[in-house]
Subunit: 324 residues, 2 copies
């Protein structure tokens, strides 16, 4: 006997109603260059053009709008390497809530600055030695604030799933859906939508080859931890899949495609120069897998790829473009 | 007594029907950063994400689809510094027609290569000394091919106007519409749509300050010629407005905003790093005028800006980003 799913299409529809008018409905673009280079028919869901520069505002704002007024009045706490920080900070500003964000000391300066500009207070931790979840839990205990987890939360997952809802509304006939996998929140939400709307659709997660915790966990059939991975894709430097997200990924994923940092930067370059959108390394891993032909679908398949974020430091973008 | 307009909204609707399904409906995006920096509420119509990288495919394909089968069978001739060349070359391939394109010897290598990749034959001219229109006319005479002019043609203008039609369908309540002005084809089509759908809308053209032939012509009340201008915006290095486009611009424009090359490259940089889209210098002149606060509309006005193209050479993009 299987337990009923903990996250449903209805949850994502409810999130979409909450978010309507507050965030961008991001465009889905296609590019002959991407199609020619990948061999697939690719539809790029540009969360790089989302408010605060990534999909993270979807989950964060859905979570904050799901709180009671009393909870919102106490403020929120979050931990993040960057985009979730910005998402929570902006969502807090949009809902009149105060936010404390725990960020790694080596977070990209751009993401740190943007988080502060949205009015959040930043507390630093060390990515190699500190337990960021424990730090956040202590802040929650000391301040009475509500924790806004980066992925292991059904309101967060439901919010992230609205990206796939929009994509499948715009392009109903997809054969495959591809998203980056860090903690699994984006993929949990998106795969729930995709499998509910198009049961035969092939769902493929993408990880950096050095950040393969979900690939290992799926192979093992249980959550596996890896050391902090060094990939250039800073948004998916995660050491293990979430407790709540992993069973959802187990149920939905056809597999994980692994991409190298070179493939990732190549995709950032290709997207900027040929598809004409600026995407950060993490945001480009899905495109990297497509361009490398690493998806378990036939040539010509109609593939939806979530470009998850566009928050790239100017000097990194220049370095990546110069490598052409 | 005023003559009836030579280009009407109906012509643009007819073009839109011809183009439907053959080209992209490009997204309209907005960016809090652009709004904050400009003081306007800006809606960016991303023709940089159009097929062949600019709006030019709209006019070129509308023209080719308006020809008789016998005309199409004879092939076409066009002259262009770049984007019209690619537009005609792709439109020719899409309609099974052959194309000869006259391009300046100093055309950007990227645009030259793309034009050839679409299957067109390229003939060179010297931008300082040759009369490209005469060269094209000679080719037409010698080969029996049909000329596809870059702007001074009602089928071309009607095609370009479909960009404004889509923009006003997506954002009906604009206060102002801003496009680059080179020969005036894009603006003739777009302003015809805008003034027909929203008579009170303020239409503003943008030129580089060294390529101010239309600004001078509007002030003089007749077409004025200037020497070949040196602006970085290679798509609007035009020496005089078109014979057919100029009266349309005279009727519709509230004015021309002039931007410096520094403002143009600043806009390219801002759009890449903050709005996360890659736009070529010519494509960014409208955004440059908005970011410089040079539009004759009040703060907070809802301004539609056509980002006309995204075909920028990698090394130029890097140089512009490095100037940050």
């Amino acid at each position: 006997m299987t337990a009923p799913p903990a996250l449903t299409l209805d949850d994502v529809h409810a999130a979409a109603r909450r978010l309507l008018g507050h965030i961008h409905r991001t465009p889905v673009i296609s590019s002959q260059s991407v199609d020619d280079a990948s061999g697939y028919r690719v539809f790029l869901k540009c969360e790089s053009l989302q408010r605060a520069g990534s999909f993270k505002i979807r989950g964060a704002l859905n979570k904050l709008l799901s709180l009671t007024p009393a909870e919102r009045a106490r403020g929120v706490v979050a931990y993040s390497s960057g985009n979730h920080a910005q998402g929570v900070a902006l969502a807090a500003r949009m809902t009149g809530t105060s936010a404390i964000i725990c960020m790694p000391r080596d977070a990209p300066a751009l993401k740190l600055e943007a988080t502060r500009n949205y009015g959040a207070e930043v507390v630093f931790y060390d990515r190699q030695t500190d337990d960021r979840a424990a730090l956040a839990a202590r802040l929650v205990k000391e301040t009475g604030r509500v924790l806004v987890p980066p992925y292991d939360d059904y309101a967060i997952m439901a919010g992230q799933g609205t990206a796939a809802l929009e994509l499948l509304q715009d392009v109903p006939s997809l054969d495959a859906l591809v998203t980056p996998v860090g903690g699994g929140g984006l993929m949990a939400g998106c795969s729930t939508v995709a499998k509910a709307l198009v049961p035969g659709l092939t769902v493929v997660g993408v990880e950096a080859d050095t950040a393969n915790d979900t690939a290992l966990s799926l192979a093992r059939g249980e959550r596996v931890s890896i050391p902090p991975p060094p990939t250039i894709a800073d948004g998916i430097r995660v050491t293990s899949p979430g407790v709540l997200t992993f069973p959802i990924l187990q149920r939905h994923l056809a597999g994980i495609a692994l991409v190298t940092d070179e493939e990732i930067t190549g995709a950032v370059r290709f997207l900027a120069l040929r598809a004409r959108v600026v995407v950060e390394p993490t945001g480009a891993v899905g495109a990297a897998a497509a361009l490398a032909g690493k998806l378990p679908v036939p040539r010509g398949a109609r593939v939806g790829v979530v470009l998850s974020g566009g928050n790239i430091a100017p000097d990194l973008l220049v370095r990546i473009l110069q490598a052409a």
